[in-house]
Symmetry: C2
C-alpha cells in the first residue's frame, strides 16, 4: 500500500508526460522509456519486483499453446510473467465445436489469471520492442482493444516502418496504447502467427477466421443469422439461396472440422427449426491444393472425402479464390441491392467458378508471421555480450556493434532456434557482391559471416523453427516444446539433452460422429465411430482445468439430448 503513495514522488518529467500527455511537449523517448522512471512509479512494477525476491523472472510473450503450457509448468522458483493481448488461452481443437454451439465458448478457454497458479503474473499487452543487451521488453497495453479475441490479420500497426527502432516522437504519439518496459532474466517468444490470406483482396475485411474465441462467436451468430434472414418474407429466393451457401476455404483439419460441425448443426438441429430452408443448404469446402487433409494417409483422406460427400459437404480442390466482397454477385443480370454485407450476402470470386453468392466465408488456410516477428524482430541489435555466445565467425570485438540480427527461416520468416529452442543471431548479411548472379527473382542473401546463440532468449511454437529439424506448426509441436522447456528450466539442465519431437499422431472430426485417427504407434490408423470416440476422449483428457473437464461432457450430453442452442446475441 505504501508503495502506491510513492506515485507522488515520481520524477517530474514522467508526471508531466502522464498528466499533460495530449498537450505538452513530450520529452525525448529514451528518457520516457528508461526503466528506472517507469518502474519506480508503478504499483504493478513495484509489486512485481517486490514479489520477485531473488528468483529469476521469466517473461513469456504470448498465451497460446506454447506460452500457456510453459507458464503452467514452470516451478515457483521462477517468477513467471505472461504478457499477452488475450486474458486467456484458447484450446483451439474445440473452437469449431463452439462455433456451431456443440460446446459453449468458455469450455475452450482457460483464464491466464487463476487461483490455482498464484505464481503466474499477467499483464495484458503486446510486446513492442526488445533490448537483448539491457534484457528488457517494451510492452504496449491492450486491455481495451476492439480486435481482441479475433484472429489477427496484420491490420494492426500497419503503418509501422520496417526501418528499425522507434526513434521519432511523432511515431510514438501516433500509436494508441501506452507503453512500459519490463526487465527479464529469461525471455520466451511464443506470440504465434496471424492468419495467412495470401493478400487475396477482401479476405481480411470480409472473411470469418477461425483462430480465436470471438471469431467462433461471430461465426455462430452469422450462420444462424443467415437462416433467420433467409426465413424472412422480404428475402428474395435468390438471396435465400446465396445466404444458405456456406463457403469454407482451406482443406486442412481446421477447415474440414468446421465444415463437419456445420453439417452436424444443419442436419441435427436446423432441419427441425427451418424445415423449408435446410434442403437449400450448400456447404462447400475449397482448397487450392489437389487434395484435402493431405497430411493423412491416402486411405484415411479417401475415407474422409466419402464421409463428407455422404453428408452433403461438397469439396472443391484445385480451386483458386480471387476475391471476397459484400453484396450480391453481379452476374445475375439484375442491379445490385443496396444491402450491406452482413444483411445481405457476400460474393466469393474463384478462378474456376466465377462469382458465387455466399452467406459466410470461413477462412482457414494456414499461418503467416505476425508483424512483431516480421518487424520488431527484424531490426539490428548491438551484440548482447552478456547473454550471447559466438558460435561461428569472427570473435565479438571485431564486429560492428549494431550489425546483429535475429536469424529467421528464409521462406517462412519464423525465428530460427537451435535444438535447445534458443534464439540465434547472425550478422547482417552483406549485399551480394555480384548482382549478375541475381538470376532467381528472389536471390538468397549472401551467407552471414558470424553467428551467435542467445543463452536466455527462447522461441517456441508457430513463430519458431528448429534449424536442424523443421516441425509442423501445430498445437502438438508447441505443447511438446513448452513441456520440454519447462522441464529443462525447472531442472536447470538445458545442456543435458536437446529437444526431440515425438509424433503422437493426428486426429480430425468428420461429422456425424465419425473421425480419423492416424498414429505411428500400436493404434495405427482408425476411422469412423471409434476414431470419433478417441477424438472426444483425447480432447477431454487434454483439457486443462477441472472446470472444463466437467463442463465439456455436460455440454456434449445437452447437445445430444436437447440439441444445440440457437439463440443469437
Amino acid at each position: 500500500m505504501s508503495a502506491i503513495r510513492q506515485f507522488a514522488r515520481l520524477p517530474a518529467p514522467l508526471i508531466d508526460y502522464i498528466v499533460h500527455k495530449s498537450h505538452a511537449t513530450i520529452p525525448s523517448l529514451p528518457r520516457i522509456f528508461s526503466t528506472s522512471y517507469q518502474q519506480k512509479g508503478s504499483l504493478s512494477l513495484e509489486t512485481l519486483d517486490a514479489s520477485k525476491g531473488d528468483r529469476e523472472r521469466i517473461v513469456i510473450l504470448g498465451s497460446g499453446w506454447a506460452g500457456y503450457i510453459l507458464s503452467q509448468r514452470l516451478s515457483a522458483k521462477y517468477q513467471t510473467l505472461v504478457i499477452s493481448p488475450r486474458s486467456y488461452f484458447v484450446f483451439t481443437p474445440l473452437l469449431s465445436s463452439t462455433a456451431v454451439g456443440t460446446l459453449e465458448f468458455r469450455t475452450a478457454l482457460e483464464p491466464i489469471r487463476s487461483k490455482r497458479k498464484p505464481n503466474i503474473e499477467f499483464m495484458q499487452g503486446c510486446a513492442d520492442n526488445m533490448d537483448f543487451g539491457r534484457k528488457t521488453v517494451t510492452v504496449e497495453e491492450s486491455v481495451v482493444d476492439h480486435q481482441q479475441g479475433r484472429a489477427m490479420r496484420g491490420d494492426k500497426n500497419k503503418e509501422s516502418e520496417t526501418s528499425g527502432q522507434v526513434t521519432s516522437v511523432k511515431e510514438a504519439r501516433r500509436r494508441e496504447g501506452k507503453r512500459w518496459e519490463i526487465s527479464y532474466d529469461k525471455l520466451v517468444i511464443a506470440v504465434g502467427c496471424y492468419s495467412q490470406t495470401f493478400s487475396t483482396p477482401g479476405i481480411r475485411e470480409n472473411a470469418f477466421f477461425m483462430k480465436d474465441i470471438v471469431d467462433a462467436r461471430r461465426i455462430r451468430k452469422r450462420v444462424l443469422e443467415c437462416f433467420e434472414i433467409a426465413n424472412l418474407p422480404t428475402t428474395s429466393e435468390q438471396l435465400r439461396k446465396y445466404l444458405l451457401t456456406f463457403a469454407v476455404v482451406g482443406g486442412g483439419p481446421t477447415g474440414m472440422e468446421f465444415a463437419a460441425e456445420l453439417s452436424d448443426l444443419v442436419r441435427e438441429d436446423l432441419t427441425k427449426l427451418y424445415p423449408e430452408l435446410v434442403p437449400k443448404v450448400n456447404i462447400v469446402v475449397r482448397d487450392v491444393a489437389p487434395t484435402v487433409l493431405s497430411m493423412f494417409d491416402e486411405k484415411l483422406s479417401q475415407y474422409a472425402m466419402e464421409t463428407f460427400s455422404r453428408q452433403g459437404v461438397e469439396v472443391k480442390t484445385s480451386n483458386h479464390v480471387q476475391n471476397l466482397r459484400p453484396g450480391l454477385p453481379s452476374t445475375d443480370g439484375s442491379e445490385e441491392l443496396d444491402i450491406a454485407g452482413a444483411q445481405g450476402c457476400y460474393t466469393l470470386t474463384t478462378k474456376e467458378d466465377g462469382d458465387v453468392g455466399v452467406g459466410i466465408c470461413v477462412w482457414s488456410t494456414g499461418n503467416m508471421m505476425n508483424p512483431f516477428v516480421q518487424k520488431a524482430l527484424g531490426k539490428t541489435y548491438g551484440f548482447p555480450s552478456e547473454s550471447a555466445t559466438i558460435t561461428s565467425g569472427k570473435p565479438f570485438k571485431e564486429l560492428d556493434a549494431n550489425e546483429w540480427m535475429i536469424e529467421k527461416h528464409p521462406k517462412t520468416g519464423a525465428i530460427t532456434v537451435d535444438d535447445r529452442l534458443r534464439v540465434q543471431l547472425h550478422t547482417k548479411p552483406q549485399p551480394p557482391s555480384n548482382s549478375a548472379s541475381d538470376s532467381n527473382s528472389s536471390s538468397p542473401p549472401s551467407t552471414p559471416t558470424s553467428t551467435a546463440a542467445l543463452s536466455n532468449v527462447f522461441a517456441l511454437g508457430d513463430n519458431a523453427t528448429i534449424r536442424s529439424t523443421p516441425l509442423p506448426a501445430t498445437a502438438q509441436t508447441a505443447s511438446q516444446q513448452a513441456l520440454w522447456l519447462a522441464k529443462r528450466l525447472n531442472q536447470n539442465d538445458l545442456d543435458r539433452e536437446h529437444f526431440t519431437f515425438k509424433n503422437l499422431g493426428m486426429m480430425t472430426y468428420l461429422g456425424n460422429w465419425k473421425g480419423l485417427v492416424q498414429t505411428d504407434g500400436v493404434m495405427g490408423d482408425i476411422s469412423g465411430r471409434m476414431a470419433w470416440l478417441i477424438w472426444r476422449g483425447a480432447y477431454l483428457t487434454m483439457s486443462v482445468s477441472w472446470r472444463n473437464k466437467i463442463l465439456i461432457p455436460v455440454y456434449w450430453f445437452l447437445t445430444w439430448a436437447f440439441g444445440r442452442d440457437v439463440t443469437r446475441f
Copy 2:
C-alpha cells in the same frame, strides 16, 4: 417448394421496388404494403398461410415474460406467430448472475424457435404499424441489428414523428429495414418497456443497462476490464481509484441484486487474482428516493441495508444523478487525459457529491414506454367495426371514422386494458373548452365522449395497465397475465371470468448467500441464508427448459468449487 418459384410471378411494381430499391422511384406506399402483393410472393408468408389451415392465427408482439409464456401455453388449435426483435426470451431474474459470471449467459436464455414447440412460428422483426380494421400488422425486419440484445433506450427511430401514420415516401426510404404485412385473427401486444433515463444527460450513451443479455455481457467484460486496466503499470493511482469505483443507479431489486453479485465477485474471486486492487474497490448504489428496496417491509429492507453495509456496498439515498460522461473528473485541478471512456473512466455528476470518477455506471431506474407504444399506437384509427364494441358514448354511425385512439394511462402512457386484458379505444379528446381552467401545468385532457373495447387485441405485461386495478410492472404480473390469457383462449371462455392478480410475494438476493423473501402467505417474511435457498430454488423451478434446469445447478456448483470464470472476450 413450388410455392417458392412463384416469386417470379410477383407483381411488377414490387419486383421493381425490391430490385431497384436504391435507384428507382418508389411506388406509393399503400401499394407496396398492400397485403396481397407481399403475401403472394413470399415463401415464408405462403408457408405460414398453408400451415395455418383453418386455425386462427394469434400474432404475439414481443418475446419477454408476457409474450414468451403466452406463446408456450397456447394450444395447437391456434397458429401462434411470435414477432420480436430478439430470437430468445430472457429469464431476467438471472441476468445479474450472468453479468458477473456466476452463471453462463445462455442459462438465462430460451430460444423462441424450439424443437419442443413446433407449432410456434417466429419472425425476427419489430412491429411498426397496425390496422385494426384490416387486422394486419406491419413488421420491420431486424435480424441484423447492432443494438440487438441490448436494452433499448429510445434511440432507435428517434426521428420518427408523432404526427400519425407513415405517409411519405421519404420517410419510408429513410428507414433501414425492409417491411412486410401480416394478418392476424387475434393480436397480443407485449412489447415491454425501454429503460427509463429521465432524460439525464449522457446516460443513454454511457451507462450500462440491465435489461438484455448483451447488456449483461458488456457489464461482465467492462467490470473485469476495469481491474485489468487498473493493474497496468501505465495506470496512474488516481485513475486506478476511479476505475475501481462501481456505480449502480437505482435501488430497486435489479440494481441491488447486481450490486450484491458484484460484491460476491470481488470478495470471492478477485481478491485472489488482484490482491493489491481489491482494497480499493468501492461499490456505491445511488437512488433518488429516501430508501432502497422500498417495496419490501421496513424490517426486511433494514436487514438488507445492514447486509449491504457489512459487505462494503455503500448505499446513497436521496441522491440525484445529473450527468454521465467519459473521461476523468475535471475537479482534480489537472488537465484531462485524452483517453476515451472505455479505456479510462467515466465521470458521474450528482447534485450531492459533484463529479465522481467511476469505472462503470450500471443504470436501473425503471421503465418508460417504448416508441412503438408511444408513437405507432398513439395514432388515430377509423372505428374497426368488425372487432370493436362501443362500451359508452355515441353509437358508431355518428362518429367520425378517424377519431378513435388507443386509450392510455395518463401518467405512464401504458395501454389501458379491461379486466380481460382487451385493448380499449376512445374517441379523440376535444381540446378543453375553457383554457382558464388550466391551473395545473399539465391539465388532463377533457373526457372523451365515447369508448370502445377491441375484442381481438390484447395487451399484457409492462406495456399495459388494467384500468380498474393497476399492477406492478413485474415479471410476476406479466407471467400471470400470460398464463391466464392462454387458458382463456385455449378454452374459449374469455367472458367466463376476469383476470385477478395473486401476489406470490417478492424475493431478492443480497450477496454473500443471503436473501430476502416476503410473502402474504404461510411463509411470511424470511431473510438470510434460508431466503437465499428459496431464491435459488424458486428460480431453478421457474427456469423453462430442462437444458437450463440442468445447466444452472452445474454452473452454481462450478462457481462454488472453482470460482467465476474471468476470461474477457
